[in-house]
């Protein structure tokens, strides 16, 4: 049942970035967020350009997930502004739903729709949100499932798949919406070690094809292979920003040095 064949690149990859590389696609300015007394996001200033791959790294509880979730407003913020493609995040409602459909999200726990087949998981958004015909949505979904290497599982329910397969389906589900940017919140930390690479390979491929990505992960291999920039967070703050090479070989802050020494000893 396990299908570990590497994802094949497909001729119809994601669309090329719609605007010139180098223009800000996601920008956060002076973002603040509290959970009760806990200041989870402090003075967050961050921009992600078209086609850029940003890796967010940091100790548990530093606010990485909250940052990720704030970008498609699964989490509201107290103050500051978040813009996606030049548009500030709207209030809850139709406009927000439209914005979310342009921002792909991949969760740590996959969150595939448990009562729907793999294929229906991927076609739901295109049919109900984008208004595609069933046949067009299916054809495209099959192409995407092919691309992430799980086309032969299309008729199964999520619970019948391995974690690695489920996460690749989740990536296909997000891609089916033709997102402008993809958010990944620790996409491989719920996976058994032997499945991590099949998911990371798909992500590296996406990065190569020019997808704009914000990836919370502790996988240094991925950061080195695919990231343009690494952001290190601690206590809700961005402590350090650097290229992957620079960050991993020559971290400047003590927090980052301490953190890296801990994850490197594993």
């Amino acid at each position: 049942m396990a299908d570990a064949s590497p994802p094949r690149p497909s001729p119809d990859g994601p669309e090329a970035p719609r605007q010139v590389a180098g223009a800000a696609l996601v920008s956060l300015r002076d973002v603040q967020k509290h959970f009760g007394d806990l200041h989870v996001l402090r003075d967050i200033d961050l921009t992600v350009d078209h086609g850029e791959v940003l890796v967010v790294i940091g100790p548990s509880g530093s606010g990485k997930s909250t940052l990720c979730r704030a970008i498609n407003r699964l989490e509201t913020i107290d103050s500051g502004t978040i813009e996606v493609d030049g548009e500030p995040l709207p209030e809850e409602g139709r406009a927000l739903a439209r914005l979310r459909s342009d921002v792909g999200m991949v969760f740590q726990s996959f969150n595939l729709f448990a009562h729907k087949t793999v294929l229906d998981n991927v076609t739901l958004g295109p049919i109900k949100v984008r208004g595609l015909s069933r046949s067009a949505a299916r054809a495209e979904a099959m192409g995407l499932l092919e691309r992430v290497g799980v086309a032969n599982q299309a008729g199964k329910l999520p619970a019948q798949l391995s974690g690695g397969q489920q996460q690749r389906v989740a990536i296909a589900r997000a891609l089916a919406m033709h997102p402008k940017v993809m958010l990944f919140d620790e996409p491989t930390s719920a996976l058994d070690p032997e499945m991590i690479n099949e998911v990371l390979d798909v992500m590296v491929q996406l990065a190569k094809e020019g997808m704009t990505m914000i990836v919370v992960t502790h996988e240094m291999g991925f950061a080195r292979r695919a990231a343009d920039r690494v952001v290190f967070m601690a206590d809700g703050q961005i402590v350090e920003e650097a290229s992957p090479e620079e960050f991993f070989t020559n971290p400047r802050s003590d927090r980052a040095k301490d953190f890296l020494s801990k994850i490197l000893t594993h």
Binding site: G104, F107, N111, L124, V129, L157, A159
Partner: protein
């Protein structure tokens, strides 16, 4: 023994026992259908992000779950029909039948709502987040992702509500439905008090026969349809 059996023969010959049970089945069917629709809407209200709708849902459930059914049924005749002069049909029995259906539906909708809500609680939060993340707004997300899973988790409590409704349909007598089982029971006791054991056994067995399949069916369904995670 044969003497005891002949008592049943006497009862079934002089009274329309099956007809009375049929009235309760019809009451249950219509009240159940309406309660299911209203209960679903209430459950949507209760889980909706709009505070005023959520408040309406909560208020409805609190009021009707805590009011004795008999009082609601008496109100349907004395209040709705007697005072407010609201009439569903010109035909007296038909009118009282539908007033009873509405009374039963109003009461059991509160329980349907709570059953569905307990089903919603079996659906992990991540399902709703994934639905929102692909751009579904509240209603489509509820209809296509949350409720289908919630129903499967709510089959057992919904079955319990249906069983309660079958038995509670006898309270329709309080709303002036004169042809259903509890009225028949009363008449039998009044005119054939010597057959008291046969009378009670008739109705007890009758309801057991109605209720047991519902219990078996919901157990099987909830097992077969359970969402695998």
């Amino acid at each position: 023994m044969s003497d005891f059996l002949s008592q049943f023969g006497e009862l079934f010959a002089s009274y329309d026992v099956l007809g009375a049970f049929w009235v309760n089945i019809q009451l249950t069917f219509w009240a159940g259908l309406i309660a299911l629709v209203v209960g679903c809407v209430l459950a949507l209200f209760r889980i909706s992000p709009v505070p005023s709708l959520a408040w309406v849902g909560t208020a409805y459930v609190t009021v009707f779950r805590n009011t004795p059914l008999t009082i609601i049924m008496v109100f349907m005749t004395l209040g709705v029909w007697g005072q407010l002069k609201i009439q569903v049909s010109d035909d007296f029995p038909t009118n009282f039948f539908w007033l009873a259906v509405i009374g039963l539906a109003i009461y059991h909708a509160a329980f349907v709502c709570e059953s569905i809500r307990s089903g919603v609680n079996t659906v992990p939060l991540g399902q709703a987040e994934a639905a929102r993340a692909i751009g579904l707004s509240f209603l489509p997300a509820a209809r296509m992702v949350i409720l289908p899973q919630a129903f499967r988790g709510a089959i057992a409590p919904l079955g319990n509500t249906l069983i309660a409704l079958i038995k509670n349909s006898t309270v329709a007598a309080a709303a002036g439905v004169a042809t259903e089982t509890s009225t028949l029971l009363k008449n039998m006791i009044e005119f054939n008090s010597s057959l008291i054991y046969a009378i009670f056994l008739t109705f007890a067995v009758g309801y057991v026969i109605l209720v047991i399949p519902v219990g078996l069916l919901t157990t099987t369904l909830s097992r077969r349809l359970a969402v695998r995670r």
